[in-house]
């Protein structure tokens, strides 16, 4: 039996590809993640224009100048835009639906992506002021998950022209 050729032509070959990778975070990103353990959000400042990039970068993509100086930015800011995700993604375990927002932190010149919670998805608005909700002391590990999510602060929304060109 085992030596008989297959009756039907072979149509498919299923191959599982297993490739291990060991990524380097880089000092810039590592410093940013470590600071999250201390409830600090770091950015780096362009040596030419003073604009602040979060997470820190080695150079400003705008001016091409180095951006080595680290600065702290606030853990609060404005939702500049967002979407409500309603479909699951392989390898992610966020509960659906969730709000993925672009958040412009006070003091930063570019936005970060973050989930918004403690707010019905329908109630999230562009311009909404939000603050970070951190993992409890002792539970933070120096990873992106140290910030659990952002929630509305209850303050009045920021005016449209303060964020509409700052997505």
């Amino acid at each position: 039996m085992a030596n008989e050729p297959p009756r039907d032509p072979v149509k498919y070959v299923e191959t599982h590809v297993y490739l291990p990778y060991h990524y380097v975070a880089g000092d810039s990103r590592a410093g940013y993640l470590r600071a999250l353990k201390d409830k600090k959000i770091l950015g780096s400042k362009c040596s030419k224009t003073g604009k602040v990039f979060v997470p820190p970068v080695v150079n400003s993509p705008e001016s091409f100048a180095p951006a080595d100086e680290l600065v702290e930015v606030a853990d609060r800011g404005i939702v500049t835009t967002f979407c409500v995700v309603r479909i699951p993604v392989t390898g992610r375990d966020l509960q659906l639906p969730y709000v993925a927002a672009s958040v412009a932190l006070d003091g930063a010149s570019v936005s970060i992506f973050a989930p918004i919670q403690e707010c019905a998805p329908d109630a999230v608005r562009m311009g909404m002021r939000v603050e970070a909700v951190w993992k409890a002391d002792g539970e933070r590990e120096g990873s992106h998950e140290d910030i659990l999510y952002f929630r509305p602060t209850g303050e009045p929304d920021a005016p449209q022209d303060s964020y509409i060109h700052r997505l």
Partner: protein, 383 residues
């Protein structure tokens, strides 16, 4: 461009969710055979092969152009492999244009493909990377916030995405190669599930297997061919950095810069009247309105009005995506070249049922990355 370049052959595959009848080489070969036959050429007439496709994780083969050498007739020829994310099909065609424009190559074959049914496309496009926030849910999840920002900025009504999707399907029904050809109604779209609010399922491109090949030739070689060629009047591919403070993700500067470059080079000064058809890269319906503005067909915030008035339909003033576009067919690596190839077919008068009558000048457009890469060309029936 140092010397004129023409499209002398176009070949595409039957695009579908899964081409289980061919392997990767077979898929690519289907397009190549059709393009060569279209051009009245043999593979021995081709001087170089330029291939493009999107991330290799989509098929689980690293640099597949290497094993495809025999299938595409590239043995003992120069071959290059391009990858510029979603715009790759288009930037690949432009790299091929360079070959002929340089004067060093007479006829080149350029191919773009994706057989993404063979891998796991969703994973391949957004795997969980360490040191990155695990948030963005695929391409739709990335672009949806900017579609929302467009809607906010422009006052675009909620049904514009649906109108765009319905029109794309109506056009695709007239395109024998398109993947999704069943008609849709506005109600179908508005009742379809919301995936990444504000983008609905009915407003989202499919995942397709497909390939397209073009044969580009010098003026002398083009004049020897059996078909009326499409002359490439201009072309350019640009890229911009991602994290530029205040970068306009709704109407990226790279798109506007690229458009100006190709219009200036082709002598287009009155876009609305000089372009007869445009194949633009719309993977999520809202982008059609956004790109109409970015490309300069109308003022900022007016793109959605063109769609509401139906001016972008077949038979109307400026048909957009008469092939059905990316919303009907999206083998990621191929889509950019399909835009370029369809624009060429229009001015060659060979777009069959979805032909724009009397089309003499057409625009092909594609974008990729975080709306960072833009590639465009303008083709015309007259040299």
């Amino acid at each position: 461009m140092k010397r004129p370049v023409a499209v002398v052959g176009v070949g595409q595959t039957q695009h579908s969710s899964r081409r289980a009848d061919v392997n990767i080489a077979g898929l690519v070969r289907e397009a190549v055979d059709r393009a060569l036959q279209d051009a009245g050429l043999e593979h021995t007439d081709i001087d170089a092969v330029i291939i493009g496709k999107a991330p290799d994780m989509l098929e689980g083969v690293a640099q597949p152009e290497q094993f495809l050498v025999g299938a595409v007739g590239a043995h003992m020829k120069p071959m290059l492999r391009v990858h510029t994310a979603g715009s790759v099909g288009a930037s690949t065609a432009l790299a091929a244009v360079t070959h002929v424009a340089s004067g060093l190559y007479e006829r080149v074959l350029t191919i773009a493909f994706e057989k993404q049914s063979e891998g796991n496309a969703m994973w391949a496009l957004s795997p969980n990377m360490p040191f990155m926030p695990p948030l963005v849910a695929g391409a739709g999840g990335f672009f949806a916030p900017y579609c929302r920002a467009y809607i906010q900025r422009s006052g675009c009504p909620a049904h514009i995405g649906a109108l765009t999707a319905v029109n794309a399907r109506a056009n695709a029904a007239k395109n024998e190669y398109a993947h999704l050809r069943e008609p849709l109604t506005v109600e179908d779209v508005l009742e379809s599930p919301m995936l990444w609010d504000p983008i609905r399922f009915g407003e989202t491109c499919p995942s397709s297997d497909g390939a397209i090949a073009l044969v580009l030739a010098s003026e002398a070689a083009a004049r020897k061919g059996p078909r009326r060629p499409a002359w490439i009047k201009s072309g350019a591919s640009y890229a911009e950095a991602m994290w530029v403070p205040g970068r306009d993700q709704v109407s990226p500067l790279a798109g506007r810069t690229c458009a100006k470059h190709v219009y200036d080079q082709a002598g287009i000064t009155d876009l609305w009247n000089q372009i007869d058809a445009a194949e633009i890269y719309v993977p999520f319906a809202w982008f059609e309105a956004m790109w109409l503005e970015n490309l300069g067909f109308c003022a900022e915030s007016d793109g959605w009005k063109i769609i509401e008035r139906g001016e972008q339909k077949l038979g109307a003033h400026l048909p957009i995506n008469p092939s059905g576009g990316v919303l009907a067919t999206n083998p990621i690596g191929a889509s950019g070249m399909i835009r370029f190839g369809e624009a060429a077919l229009q001015v060659m008068g060979r777009a069959g049922e979805h032909q724009v009558e009397g089309a003499k000048t057409a625009l092909g457009h594609a974008y990729g990355g975080g709306a960072q890469y833009f590639a465009m060309w303008i083709v015309a029936s007259d040299q």
